[in-house]
């Protein structure tokens, strides 16, 4: 008599072969080219920072906690940081948004944390700053100087501070309308705070072009709100200086020659091709819409990680062996079949790690090893049930079916509660860029899901396969009875 569950055996066999294909170290990967379908993937194990060493930094919006940050602005800040990180040439670098005001940067293998962080932070906030209260030559003299601007200091979030009269730059009465506040960290030296008209967030389509006379110039376009602000401002201040400020340093101080009302403008000057390009790149990539600061950093030396990796792999194998031995000794034939299912489970899980891909961290490996222990739980539940049914005098086949169907609600409910915890852990880890917590919860959750499949489907099919070929009804000791 053939059991219908055996029909799944070919499928299981195919899945196992697929998993082995993916798991194979330095495997060939998948490179297909069928018509329009193009698949080009190699399957690599991604190792986390704690295993290969490297630098991790959590960047945080440098704005008061009460400030609402536009998600789109944060997302483009992430994209800009990512392009800078790619410039570092670190393979497998990752830049992720963590929560609504943080960006997590991970640079596996990077040794020089300081240089890396400086590169990421080097070009920062781009602002268009109102210098119209200064005379033209005063304004031009400020080029390449560092100035204070009022961006990020809103009336609601910043404490009003007494205004120190600025004697060097402008008379105190010159700009009654502009906000003259000092940031608390400022030294006692009086300084002028200039008004930020708009930030680089509104800039788009920056290109180096040539004018009709053959001079290099930088052309730019402005998005909706920016175009309106720019139009109003330039109309009112023709002939005055509008400074382009990168990280509070004036990189260019062009004069407003004509009002720019259609959102398209050019910056002209004595540009060489090189200097025009430089300015364009600064405008393009320096336009971080949200100022960022480093909230946390982590640096792991390479030796510490390799040692941990080797040790935890050994530990995993020992754990797997111990569990396998225990199952075989205690549950006999089903135990050995469960051990086979456990090997299948390990193959599947590793394949998923490579497919998704999951970055393996030390806690992630711990999660995987822990899930081996939990993976056999479903089998233990089933086998205990099976033994009960056999003791109650049932025949083998119905006992197996009853064992599976009666154990199912326990397996389902208990694993779902573990998945709920995994989900909450993952969410918690995402907000703070705690990739170790995320790694652990992801591997544990994957383990729980895959183990339900292997323990329930794979073990059952294997057991039926054995029973089809060997008569065991007379040998209850094979079932540990």
């Amino acid at each position: 008599m053939k059991n219908k569950t055996n029909q799944l055996l070919p499928l299981i066999a195919i899945l196992i072969l697929l998993a082995i294909w993916i798991d194979f170290p330095n495997g060939p990967g998948l490179h297909l080219n069928i018509g329009s379908l193009k698949i080009d993937r190699s399957f690599d194990t991604h190792l986390g920072l704690d295993l290969v060493g490297g630098v991790q930094a959590l960047l945080e919006a440098d704005l008061p906690a009460s400030a609402v940050i536009d998600p789109g602005a944060m997302n483009s800040a992430r994209a800009i940081v990512e392009s800078r990180v790619n410039g570092l040439g670190v393979s497998e670098a990752s830049v992720q948004q963590a929560g609504d005001r943080r960006i997590l940067v991970e640079l596996p293998g990077e040794k020089d944390a300081q240089t890396a962080l400086e590169t990421i932070k080097k070009t920062g906030l781009l602002e268009f700053v109102d210098l119209t209260q200064l005379a033209t030559d005063e304004a031009l003299a400020l080029e390449n100087q560092t100035i204070q601007t009022d961006f990020g200091i809103s009336a609601s979030s910043a404490e009003p501070l007494s205004v120190t009269p600025s004697t060097e730059l402008v008379s105190p009465t010159a700009a009654p309308g502009t906000s003259q506040t000092l940031t608390p960290t400022l030294p006692a030296k009086p300084a002028q705070i200039f008004h930020t008209v708009m930030t680089g967030a509104d800039l788009k389509n920056i290109q180096v072009t040539t004018s009709q006379t053959g001079e290099y110039q930088v052309a730019f376009e402005l998005s909706g709100d920016g175009a309106k602000i720019f139009s109003d401002f330039t109309t009112q201040h023709v002939g005055k200086i509008l400074a382009i400020v990168l990280d509070k340093r004036i990189i260019s101080a062009p004069r407003i020659n004509t009002p720019i009302t259609d959102g398209r403008g050019v910056i002209t000057g004595n540009f060489t091709m090189q200097s025009a390009n430089d300015l364009a790149i600064q405008l393009r990539y320096g336009s971080l819409p949200v100022p960022l600061k480093v909230a946390t950093t982590q640096t792991v030396g390479p030796t510490l990680g390799q040692d941990s990796l080797r040790k935890s792999l050994v530990a995993g194998l020992i754990g797997l062996g111990a569990v396998g031995l225990f199952m075989g000794l205690y549950y006999r034939l089903p135990g050995i079949i469960a051990d086979l299912a456990l090997i299948v489970y390990s193959l599947f899980t590793l394949a998923f790690f490579k497919l998704i891909p999951v970055t393996l961290t030390l806690p992630g490996i711990a999660g995987f090893v822990l899930s081996i222990g939990m993976a056999v739980d479903a089998n233990i539940l089933i086998f205990e049930r099976l033994k009960e049914e056999l003791r109650a005098g049932r025949n083998l086949r119905p006992a197996i079916d009853l064992g599976w169907s009666r154990a199912w609600p326990s397996i389902r409910d208990s694993n779902l509660s573990t998945l709920i915890t995994c989900f909450i852990l993952f969410w918690f880890g995402s907000i703070f860029g705690a990739s170790i917590v995320k790694g652990f919860s992801l591997t544990l959750a994957l383990g729980v899901i895959i183990s339900m499949f292997t323990a329930i489907v794979v073990t059952r099919n294997f057991l039926h396969l054995v029973l089809d070929n060997i008569k065991l009804n007379e040998r209850p000791q094979w079932f540990g009875l």
């Binding site: 946390t296 569990v323 009666r406 509660s417 709920i420 918690f428 919860s441």
Partner: protein, 307 residues
């Protein structure tokens, strides 16, 4: 057959023997929080010569640069761990090269972590939120999964009490070990704690599930006996599952390296407590609730033995 439910107050007492000292340790010594929660920096360096300067010398150097109240631990194989206020990477590099020149040695930075104070506070409050959220999610799920059983809410509540038991055991033991071994509560500890919560409920549900099944089979049998019968029926499974999980965790604790030992030991304590509480606490609590035994807790009944 084992009589577990009968001796429930003995088992409750055993739990208290572990929990009460832990809670006292928590109140007296508190938990030492890692920089993940408090903010600050941790620098783990190795002196190439294998000889570390006296901690007080390093502290003095830090103080000169305005980093007061730093803490230094050294080991005899040249490793030094320096805890201080949060600092940026360039400051750290400056301090490292300063240490190199002053003590005439080469340093290898093995690990450097720095966490701003504000983010630490936020992590702490969100962590508390995560535990509360996990508890609520599980309570809701159990109440739903046991909706066909009378008093489904009791099952959820009993599972949560058993879960809080495990949290109390883990946190209490951590307070004691933290005091004597210098272990710090970090993000990984929190991860271990949340995993224990998941495991604890996982284990409890298996027993509850049996009670649910048996209640519908043996309708005339007193609840107390059904519960005891269900515990005994699932005892083999509870012990075996715990054994396999503890086997893998022990392998990690023994061979997995120092970095995750604290994490794994926390899991071991929690998993043991989780199995204990699902056998000896969670299900007996259902009996206590069914019999409303709290009415007798403070009443004097001198010669009367409990049935």
């Amino acid at each position: 057959m084992f009589q577990i439910v009968n001796k429930r107050y003995i088992f409750f007492g055993l739990s208290l023997v572990v929990i009460i000292p832990g809670m006292i340790a928590l109140l007296v010594w508190g938990l030492s929080l890692a920089i993940d929660f408090t903010g600050g920096s941790l620098l783990d360096v190795r002196f190439q010569s294998g000889r570390t300067p006296a901690p007080s010398q390093i502290i003095a150097l830090y103080t000169e640069y305005g980093y007061k109240d730093s803490l230094v631990e050294t080991s005899n194989d040249g490793q030094a761990i320096i805890r201080s206020k949060d600092m940026d990477t360039s400051t750290m590099n400056m301090l490292v090269s300063e240490i190199q020149t002053r003590f005439g040695d080469q340093l290898v930075v093995q690990r450097f972590d720095s966490v701003g104070p504000a983010i630490g506070k936020e992590v702490t409050s969100r962590a508390a939120g995560a535990v509360a959220l996990a508890a609520t999610g599980i309570l809701v799920y159990i109440t739903y999964a046991f909706r066909g059983v009378p008093h489904a809410f009791r099952f959820g509540a009993a599972a949560i009490i058993a879960m809080l038991h495990d949290v109390a055991v883990v946190v209490g033991v951590e307070a004691i070990l933290g005091h004597f071994l210098g272990w710090e509560v970090d993000a990984l500890f929190l991860t271990a704690l949340l995993t224990v919560i998941g495991f604890s409920v996982h284990d409890t549900i298996v027993v509850f599930d049996r009670i649910r099944e048996n209640s519908s089979i043996y309708r005339r049998v007193p609840f107390e006996e059904i519960v005891n019968h269900s515990i005994v029926q699932t005892l083999d499974r509870s012990i075996n599952t715990q054994l396999t999980v503890m086997l893998t965790l022990s392998a990690l604790a023994l061979f997995g390296g120092l970095t995750i030992r604290h994490f794994v030991v926390t899991l071991l304590i929690g998993v043991f407590s989780g199995t204990y509480s699902s056998i000896f606490n969670a299900s007996p609590i259902l009996v206590v609730w069914e019999n409303r035994e709290w009415r007798n807790w403070f009443r004097r009944k001198p010669q009367q033995a409990r049935a």
